[in-house]
Amino acid sequence: MTDTITFNQEISNLLYAAEGEPIKTCIQCGTCSGTCPVAPYMDHSPRQIIAMINQGMKEQVLESNTFWYCASCYHCTVRCPQDINITELMYALKRYSIWKGQHQEGLIGPTFSEAFVKMIVRGGRSFEPVLAPSYIFSFGMRELVLEVVGATELLLKGRLPIMPARIKRLDNFKRMIGRIIPMGGLE
């Protein structure tokens, strides 16, 4: 009981889907990083992130862009010889980082994620144009222009909705969410 919780355990506790503490069993073989299609863009390879977690290097892990660059392609996960669900681990790091409000500056991922979730919580379904303003401030100008170009073209082709769709039983839906998390945190 006197043991302090290690960073490894903190992250493991956030891993509902990948039972237990599989991160500890990493043999550092590099299959994940060899497989990862985004690895060249990451500041630390996924394998290094696992080693850093196991070393308790919390600050360095949270400062890295690795987990925000994870594309959720699960290629590492199916190949991992130790059955570590690396993709879910990256989710857990994202959650941890958002929860602690601590992440590398200039990343779009965290802001975007929160905006996206707020939108679903409000309306039950996702809708793309509304999203833009929520993350505009963290976007580079060039990307913003490109994004607007894309969105306009989609609109012209009749492929972007003008009004966000909502589910019918929205009140029930909101109360349902209320039973899982306090709404204050997101609204």
Binding site: M176, R179, I180
Partner: protein, 291 residues
């Protein structure tokens, strides 16, 4: 007539409406009824798992519980929706405490998840429940001479759901052969297109799109076929930007597999949503489009 509960997911409402149309039409022609879930909600995409795992499960569980009431297996055309629903169902079945917690929330909407519903990807319905043999028998307009690069993308077979081959599956190819087209063998058919990164890490995503298109073009594909709205949009809408970024010259139509099947069954183009695309499909399909 086979019947499924159908969960279109947010993208199919508008952005990928051609996928929606072609799925319904093709399925109908093949004797399968897709019955849309009443009052479904967003599956949370991958983003939801970034925020709160429990909440993400709750969102999926609501849809699963609605589907369960119909007594039918639920089918999702979008790979991300499919993966989320599949694993939510699997985790909830395995973990009674989790199920109890989530069912407590579902009570607010008079719903309950019992774990009886099966979850399928739309492509599995075509590949397994219909199967290439039956499909072949029903084809009236074989797409001869069309070289199709089947793009599996990520979350259909990954992470592993059962004992299927996660590295070199062949069911997409078999389906393409069944409709008379030629599946091309290209090494990146299982690689990620970077769809979930396009907003947050654009440079990385564009690079991934480039590699994929290059691989398909090197194998002399005339179209790329997908089974996911995210992959479709990513590969199609950003092709122009890839060209700007890398000085390439791609103009590869990215089609939904249901559009290709629909053509082979002689469903009118309009009903398949052909014409809503950025990169015109018509030139590549000239030889097989009738009328």
């Amino acid at each position: 007539m086979k019947e499924y509960a159908y969960f279109p997911g947010c993208s199919l409402e508008k952005m990928a409406s051609s996928y929606h149309k072609s799925s319904i039409e093709t399925a109908k022609k093949l004797g399968i009824k897709l019955k849309e879930l009443e009052d479904w909600n967003c599956c949370g995409a991958t983003t939801y798992f970034y925020i709160d795992e429990l909440l993400a499960y709750t969102l999926c569980a609501r849809n699963l519980a609605i589907a369960e009431k119909t007594g039918l297996d639920v089918v999702a055309p979008c790979s991300a929706c499919y993966k989320n629903m599949y694993f939510t169902a699997a985790h909830l079945k395995k973990d009674v405490d989790l199920a109890e917690h989530i069912n407590f929330a579902l009570e607010e909407d008079d719903l309950h998840f019992n774990g009886t519903v099966g979850v399928k990807h739309l492509i599995e319905v075509f590949a397994n429940d219909i199967g290439p043999e039956e499909l072949k028998n029903k084809v009236t307009n074989p797409l001869e001479g069309i070289r199709v690069a089947p793009y599996y993308g990520c979350q259909i077979v990954r992470p592993q759901k059962d004992k299927e081959d996660v590295e070199q599956p062949m069911f997409f190819e078999e389906m393409i052969s069944a409709i008379g087209a030629t599946p091309v063998n290209y090494p990146l058919k299982m690689r990620c297109c970077g769809g979930s990164l396009i907003i947050s890490s654009r440079t990385a995503a564009l690079g991934m799109v480039r590699n994929l298109l290059q691989s398909a073009v090197d194998a002399q594909a005339t179209v790329v076929a997908t089974a996911c709205p995210m992959c479709q949009v990513n590969l199609e809408v950003y092709q122009q930007q890839v060209n700007q970024e890398f000085g390439t010259n791609f103009a590869v139509p990215i089609m939904y597999f249901t559009q290709l099947i629909g053509l082979s069954l002689e469903i009118p183009q309009k009903k398949l949503g052909i014409g809503q695309e950025f990169i015109a499909m018509a030139p590549a399909l000239r030889q097989v489009i009738k009328g």
